[in-house]
C-alpha cells in the first residue's frame, strides 16, 4: 500500500508497508497508475519513514522510480530513511544520483 499526498508541486509517496519482494508488484502498479494520473508534480518524494525493511526488489523499485522521474525531467528524493536504508543507499552510491535523507 502506498499513500499519496500532493504538497504544491511535490508528489509525496508514502509506502505504509515494507518495500519487499512480496509487496513490490502491487506497489509498482499503484505507483505507475498514480504517476500517470497526477501530471502536475515537479518533484517526486519517496517518504520511507513508515518503512523498516528494504530488500533487493525494493531497491529495484526505488531505482525504477528514480529513472522514471529522470526520464520525465523531474526531481526525485528519498526521505525518512532509517539508518539501515541510508547505509545501503550510500554504499550503492545512489545518494550520488538523488538526495537521500535520514529520518
Amino acid at each position: 500500500m502506498i499513500e499519496f499526498q500532493v504538497e504544491g508541486d511535490r508528489l509525496v509517496c508514502l509506502p505504509v508497508e515494507e518495500i519487499i519482494a512480496s509487496n513490490v508488484p502491487t506497489m509498482r502498479e499503484t505507483l505507475i497508475e498514480h504517476l500517470d494520473e497526477a501530471k502536475d508534480w515537479n518533484e517526486l518524494i519517496f517518504d520511507c519513514h513508515k518503512v523498516e525493511t528494504l530488500d533487493s526488489i525494493g531497491i529495484n523499485l526505488i531505482v525504477g522510480l528514480f529513472k522514471r522521474a529522470r526520464v520525465a525531467g523531474k526531481e526525485f528524493r528519498v526521505v525518512g530513511c532509517n539508518p539501515a536504508m541510508v547505509k545501503v543507499l550510500q554504499l550503492f552510491r545512489l545518494d550520488e544520483q538523488f538526495p537521500v535523507e535520514a529520518q
Binding site: 519482494a21 533487493s56 526488489i57 531505482v63 545501503v88 545512489l94 544520483q97
Partner: protein
C-alpha cells in the same frame, strides 16, 4: 552460547559428513565422468570444507580443499573430463583432507605439497590426463573479445550466456594506506542483488552488515546503468553491486567468507593500485533484453587470476532458483529451506548413550515393578492396567532411544569401494564390489566395532581369495572377480556376508602352513576335518600369504577379526569351497545394550548366558550317563550324536565351590575307580598266570552301579564358540529374558568369563557369562586348546616331541599304534609258515627261530576271527632273541603329539588311548607286551631289590605320553615314582619330599630343565642330588651346556633298557 571450540567441533563434524560423501562420489565419477549432479555435489562438499577451514585458521586444510575445488570447478564447467588420473589425484587429496580433519590441531604442519602440485598441474592441463581436457586458452583480461563460436558443447553454450564487465574505482589514498597498515587483503567483488543476496534470504542491508563483520567496504557502487524505468520489469531485474572490500581473510577463503563464487571475486594486489585506480573485470550476467543477441556470441575467457566462470550460478545457494519468479515465490523457497534445517539436529553421542543407559535403568525398574505389582494387582484392579501401560510405554521408549543410535550399514560399506578399487589396482586384479543391504541399520557401537574387522576381511578376500585374471580364465571363470558385501536381517539379528567367487580356502594348505608355523602339530592337523582346517585362519599369528604383502600383512590377523566380532556379541562363520569361493558370515546383534539371554542357576546364583551362543539344551537322565558320559584326553566329555564335547559344570568353571557333588560327577568318579580296580584285578590275574576270569574288553563299562540310577537328571547347555561346542552343566534353567547389559566395573574387568551384569525382574543381580572367555579360561577344547595360550616356542617343542607312530590293525575293529623307534622292521609273512610248538607259535625267519606273539593272547583286545593267508609282523628292536608280533596290516605312519588318555582306556601292555583320525587308537607298550609274552627276549637289568624298594624317583616331564612310559618302566621294576608336569612343580616337590633320583625333561612350560638344574645346584641341600636329563633334544652343544649346568647325565628319551641301566647305575 557457542564458544569457538564448539563451533570448530561443529565444523569438523560437518566436514566429516562432507568427506564421507566425497569418496563415493569420486568413484561414481570414475565410471560416469559426465554426471553433473555428482560433480556439483562434490564441488559443494569440498567448497564447504574450504570455507569453514579458512575461518578457523586451518590454512593447510583450506588450501588442499581449494586446489581440489579448482579442478572440480573446471570439470563442472566442462573444461575438462575427469579421468582416472584426476580421480587418483582427488582421492589422494581427499586422504589429506581426512587426515587433517582427524587432527585439526596439527593440520597446518601436514605436508600437502605433492598432492597440491599434482592437482594444480592437472587443473592447468599441464599433465597428460586420461581424458582430453579442452581448456580454453587464456585471453587477455579485457571484456569479451569476440571469438568464433567453438564447436558447441552444452557447457560452452551456457558459457556464451555470460559476459564480463569492467568496473573502475578510484580509491582514496587514505584507505589504501589503512589497508596496507593493517596488512589486509583487498578484493574486488561483484554480486547481483537478486541472485546473490535475495536468493539467500538476505536484504541488502543484512548482506552489507554480514560483510562488515569480516572487513570493510573501501568503495562500492550499484550499477544502475541498465536499470529500467518503473514501467519495466523491475521484479525480474537484477542489479549488479560491485565493491572493493578490505579484509584479513586469505584469498583461498575469501569467496567462502563473502558468500560469493570464486569468479565473482578478484584479489587486488596493493602494489598495482598505488595510485588508487582500480580496474577490474568481473563476470556479468547478460542483461535480459540483450540475451537473444548474445546467444551466438562471444565466449568470454576469464582473466588469468579468475577461475573459470561456472555455468550454474545457484551452486552457492544450495540450488535455490537464480531469481524467484515472483516475490511470493521467493518467500516460499525460503520457507522450504527453513523447514529443511529443522528436520534434524546434532546431538552428542554421549548424550544418546546417557539416554540409553537411563532407558535401561527404567526397564530394570519396570521389570521389578511388574513383578511386585502382580501380587498387588489382585487387591487393586486398576493397578494392573496402569502397570501394563507403563510396560508398553517403557518398551517403546527404550526401542525408540535405541533407534536413535542406529545407523545404516552403508556408513561402513561406503568406504569399501575405494579400498577394493585400490586393492584391485595394487594387486593387479579386477574386482567388482557389489554391496547389498546398505540400508540395514545397526547400533552405532556395533557398527564402529565392525569397521576394522570388515576392512580386514575385504583385504584378505581381495588378496587371497580372488585370483589373478589369468588364473580365473584358466579356471573357466570370468576375469573379473566378484566380491559381495551383503547385509540383511535374520531372526532378530543382522547378518553381514563377505563372499567372493575366488579360489576358496584349501584346508590342507592352511593346516600345512599352521604346522610349519608351529601353531599346530602334525598330529592335530591329521585329526582335523576340512572345516576345522579352514578355520585355522582364525588362529593367532596365522597368515596364509606366502609372503607378507602390503595388502593383508598389516599385523592384524583373522584372529583379531574373530575376537573383535565376538566382543560385540557376534559370531563369525566361515564357509569355503575350493575353487568356488569363500563366504564369511558375521552374525551381529542389533544392539549391544540389550541381549537376549537364558537365565540359569548354579550353586544358588543366577547367570545369564547369551542366546546367540546357545546351541541347544540337553537333559541327561541317569540312564543316559553311560551312553553319553566318558573320559577323553583326561577330560570329562559328553557324547552327543557322535561328537565328543568337553563337559564342565558352570560353577566349577567359574571357580565356585560346589556344595554337593553333581550326580554325573559321582558316576564319572565311579567309572574311573572301577576302571582302576578292574585294571588292578586284571594285572594281578596276569601276574599269577591264571586264566582270565573276566573276558569282556577293558573298555566295556556296562558294569553300571545301581547308585548311578538314583541320581537325578543333569541339565547341559551346549554352547558354541567359534566352531567348537562345549557342554556346560547347570543346576536349573530359570527362563529366557531380554536383559539390559550393565558393563563390568573396571576392577572386575580381569574376570574374562563375565561380560557384564544385569538386574533381573526380581531385583537380583545376575552376571552375564562371556562364553568365549569362559571356554578359554577353562581350556575347553579338545582339538584347539593345545594351541591356545601356547607360545610359539612351546608349540615348536611339541612338534619336536611328537611321536612317530606306526598305526595298524589286528583284523578286529580296534586300532593300535606303536612308537616307531622301538621297531626294527615290519615284514609280511604267510600263515602257513607258522609252526606251533608246545602252545607257542614260531616262524623261521632269516635263519633263526622267531617267537610270534599274538596281541589277543596277552592283552585285553579282541581276537581276529580269521586271518588272511598273508599277514604282517612287527619286529621290535633290541631283543635277545627274535620276536615278532603278529598283526593284520599297517594302516599308516604318523608323526604326532600324543595325549594319552589313561583314564578311559588303560590296561596291561596298553599305555593308553588317543584319537587318531577321529578313531580311538590304543597305544601299545611294547616292552610290557614282551614281558608278558616272551620275557626272556628282553635284556634285563638286574636291580638290587632292596635298593629298588628304598628308592624314590621323581620324573619331571610335561608330555603325557612320556610321563606314562617313564613311570610305567620305572614302576614295573618296583620303584616308587612321582611325576610332576613342569620344572616349577618339580622343584617344589623336591623341596617337599626326599628323592633319590630325578629324571628331568628339558623343554617344559613354566620352568624348563636348565632352570631346574640351576635352581637345584644353587641350593646346597640339592647340590649332590642325582639329576638326569631325559630329553629328546640330541644336540652336542645343548648336552655340553646341560652337563656344565649340573646334570649328572644326559639321556635321550625312550630306550627302556638304557634308561633302566642308567638309573640303576646312579642308584648303586
Amino acid at each position: 552460547m557457542m564458544t569457538d571450540d564448539d563451533m570448530l567441533v561443529g565444523f569438523l563434524d560437518e566436514a566429516r559428513e562432507h568427506l564421507s560423501t566425497i569418496e563415493p562420489d569420486l568413484l561414481t565419477l570414475e565410471s560416469n565422468p559426465k554426471d553433473q549432479e555428482t560433480i556439483n555435489r562434490l564441488f559443494r562438499s569440498v567448497h564447504s570444507i574450504k570455507g569453514g577451514a579458512g575461518f578457523f585458521g586451518l590454512e593447510t586444510l583450506s588450501k588442499m580443499a581449494h586446489v581440489m575445488e579448482n579442478l572440480m570447478s573446471k570439470a563442472r564447467a566442462g573444461g575438462l573430463t575427469l579421468g582416472q588420473t584426476h580421480i587418483d589425484a582427488l582421492l589422494s587429496g581427499l586422504d589429506k583432507l581426512n587426515q587433517m580433519v582427524a587432527e585439526p590441531k596439527t593440520s597446518n604442519d601436514i605436508d600437502i605439497s605433492n598432492e597440491r602440485d599434482h592437482l594444480e598441474s592437472l587443473a592447468e592441463g599441464k599433465e597428460a590426463a586420461a581424458a582430453p581436457a579442452p581448456t580454453p586458452s587464456a585471453a587477455p583480461a579485457t571484456p569479451a573479445a569476440p571469438v568464433p563460436p567453438p564447436v558447441a558443447a552444452p557447457a560452452v553454450v551456457e558459457e556464451a550466456e555470460r559476459t564480463m564487465k569492467t568496473s573502475e574505482f578510484d580509491l582514496p589514498q587514505k584507505e589504501i594506506e589503512w589497508v596496507a597498515q593493517h596488512d589486509m587483503n583487498l578484493y574486488a567483488v561483484s554480486v547481483y542483488l537478486n541472485r546473490d543476496i535475495m536468493s539467500k534470504g538476505k536484504t541488502p542491508y543484512q548482506f552489507i552488515s554480514d560483510l562488515e563483520e569480516l572487513g570493510r567496504f573501501v568503495d562500492s557502487y550499484l550499477d544502475t546503468d541498465d536499470a529500467e524505468s518503473l514501467e519495466g520489469d523491475v521484479d525480474e531485474e537484477d542489479l549488479r553491486f560491485t565493491f572493493v572490500f578490505a579484509s584479513i581473510m586469505a584469498p583461498a577463503v575469501a569467496a567462502e567468507g563473502l558468500a560469493v563464487r570464486e569468479d565473482q571475486l578478484q584479489h587486488l594486489k596493493l602494489a598495482e593500485i598505488k595510485d588508487g585506480k582500480v580496474r577490474v573485470t568481473l563476470p556479468a550476467k547478460v542483461p535480459k533484453k540483450a540475451a537473444p543477441a548474445a546467444a551466438p556470441a562471444p565466449v568470454a575467457a576469464p582473466p588469468a587470476v579468475i577461475p573459470e566462470p561456472e555455468p550454474e550460478p545457484e551452486a552457492e545457494s544450495d540450488a535455490l532458483p537464480l531469481s524467484p519468479p515472483s516475490g511470493m515465490g521467493s518467500s516460499k523457497v525460503l520457507d522450504t529451506k527453513k523447514v529443511k534445517t529443522d528436520e534434524s539436529i546434532r546431538v552428542g553421542v554421549a548424550k544418546l548413550n546417557k539416554l540409553v543407559d537411563l532407558a535401561g535403568e527404567l526397564v530394570l525398574v519396570r521389570n521389578q515393578l511388574l513383578q511386585a505389582g502382580e501380587k498387588e494387582s489382585k487387591k487393586s484392579s486398576s493397578l494392573m492396567s496402569i502397570l501394563q501401560g507403563l510396560n508398553m510405554v517403557t518398551t517403546e521408549l527404550q526401542e525408540e532411544i535405541l533407534n536413535t543410535r542406529m545407523q545404516a550399514v552403508q556408513t561402513v560399506f561406503g568406504k569399501f569401494p575405494r579400498l577394493v578399487r585400490e586393492l584391485g589396482r595394487s594387486l593387479g586384479k579386477d574386482i567388482n564390489l557389489v554391496t547389498e543391504g546398505g540400508e540395514v541399520e545397526l547400533d552405532k557401537t556395533v557398527l564402529e566395532a565392525l569397521s576394522d574387522p570388515l576392512t580386514h576381511m575385504i583385504r584378505n578376500t581381495a588378496d587371497h581369495g580372488i585370483e589373478m585374471p589369468d588364473e580365473r580364465k584358466q579356471a573357466g571363470k570370468i576375469p573379473q572377480g566378484k566380491l559381495l558385501l551383503k547385509a540383511y536381517h535374520e531372526s532378530g539379528q543382522v547378518i553381514i556376508e563377505v563372499s567372493d567367487d575366488g579360489r576358496g580356502i584349501d584346508g590342507d594348505a592352511v593346516a600345512a602352513s599352521a604346522v610349519k608355523k608351529g601353531v599346530l602339530t602334525q598330529a592335530d592337523a591329521l585329526t582335523m576335518t576340512d572345516r576345522e582346517k579352514q578355520n585355522l585362519i582364525f588362529h593367532p599369528g596365522f597368515s596364509m600369504a606366502k609372503q607378507v604383502s602390503n595388502v593383508s600383512g598389516r599385523g592384524v590377523g583373522m584372529d583379531v577379526v574373530r575376537s573383535n566380532i565376538e566382543q560385540i556379541g557376534g559370531s563369525v562363520d566361515l564357509r569355503s569351497k575350493a575353487g568356488q569361493g569363500t563366504s564369511l558370515k558375521l552374525t551381529l546383534p542389533l544392539t549391544m545394550a540389550i541381549v537376549s539371554c537364558l537365565i540359569v542357576e548354579s550353586e544358588g546364583q543366577r547367570f545369564a548366558i547369551p542366546q546367540v551362543n546357545l546351541e541347544e539344551l540337553v537333559m541327561l537322565k541317569p540312564e543316559d550317563y553311560e551312553e553319553m558320559l566318558g573320559y577323553v584326553q583326561d577330560r570329562e566329555v559328553l557324547r552327543l550324536r557322535g561328537d565328543l564335547l568337553p563337559l564342565v559344570s558352570l560353577a566349577e568353571g567359574l571357580g565356585i565351590k560346589e556344595s554337593q557333588p553333581k550326580a554325573y560327577r559321582t558316576f564319572l568318579r565311579q567309572l574311573n575307580s572301577q576302571q582302576a580296580a578292574d585294571e588292578r584285578k586284571r594285572s594281578e590275574t596276569k601276574r599269577r598266570g591264571e586264566e582270565r576270569s573276566d573276558p569282556r574288553p577293558y573298555y566295556n563299562l556296562t558294569d553300571k552301579t545301581t547308585e548311578g540310577k538314583r541320581q537325578e537328571a543333569v541339565r547341559v547347555l551346549i554352547i558354541s564358540v567359534g566352531i567348537n561346542k562345549v557342554g556346560v552343566v547347570v543346576n536349573s534353567i530359570v527362563g529366557s529374558e531380554e536383559i539390559v547389559v550393565k558393563p563390568m566395573p573396571e576392577y572386575l574387568q580381569h574376570l574374562t568369563f563375565f561380560s557384564g551384569a544385569t538386574i533381573l525382574g526380581d531385583g537380583t543381580v545376575a552376571m552375564i557369562i562371556d562364553t568365549l572367555g569362559f571356554v578359554q579360561h577353562n581350556q575347553l577344547s579338545l582339538t584347539e586348546q593345545r594351541m591356545q595360550g601356547r607360545s610359539l616356542e612351546q608349540a615348536k617343542k611339541s612338534v619336536e616331541e611328537a611321536q612317530s607312530l606306526l598305526i595298524f590293525d589286528n583284523g578286529t575293529e580296534e586300532r593300535f599304534a606303536i612308537t616307531i623307534p622301538l621297531i626294527q622292521r615290519v615284514d609280511e609273512i604267510e600263515l602257513s609258515q607258522i609252526q606251533r610248538v608246545s602252545g607257542k607259535d614260531y616262524l623261521e625267519y632269516r635263519g633263526e627261530q622267531m617267537r610270534l606273539l599274538h596281541l589277543s593272547d596277552y592283552l585285553d583286545v579282541g581276537k581276529p576271527e580269521k586271518r588272511s593267508e598273508k599277514t604282517s609282523i612287527i619286529i621290535p628292536k633290541e631283543t635277545h632273541m627274535p620276536v615278532g608280533i603278529v598283526i593284520n596290516r599297517v594302516i599308516d605312519t604318523k608323526t604326532m603329539y600324543i595325549d594319552v588318555s589313561e583314564g578311559a582306556i588303560h590296561g596291561p601292555g596298553i599305555l593308553g588311548s588317543t584319537l587318531i583320525d577321529g578313531k580311538i587308537t590304543l597305544l601299545l607298550d611294547l616292552y610290557a607286551l614282551l614281558e608278558l609274552g616272551e620275557p626272556d627276549a628282553l635284556h634285563r637289568v638286574h636291580f638290587n631289590e632292596s635298593k629298588v624298594k628304598a628308592s624314590k624317583i621323581l620324573v619331571i616331564e610335561d608330555t603325557p605320553l612320556f610321563q606314562t612310559i617313564v613311570r610305567e618302566y620305572l614302576s614295573s621294576v618296583g620303584f616308587e615314582v612321582d611325576v610332576e608336569e613342569n620344572g616349577k612343580l618339580g622343584v617344589e616337590a623336591i623341596e617337599r619330599k626326599h628323592y633319590d633320583l630325578v629324571l628331568c625333561d628339558i623343554e617344559m612350560p613354566v620352568m624348563d630343565g636348565f632352570d631346574v638344574i640351576r635352581t637345584l645346584r644353587a641350593n646346597e641341600k640339592f647340590r649332590d642330588l642325582k639329576v638326569i636329563a631325559l630329553t629328546s633334544l640330541d644336540d652336542d652343544k645343548l648336552i655340553k651346556e646341560g652337563l656344565a649346568a649340573g646334570f649328572n647325565e644326559w639321556m635321550i628319551k625312550l630306550d627302556k633298557e638304557k634308561m633302566l641301566a642308567t638309573v640303576n647305575q646312579y642308584l648303586n
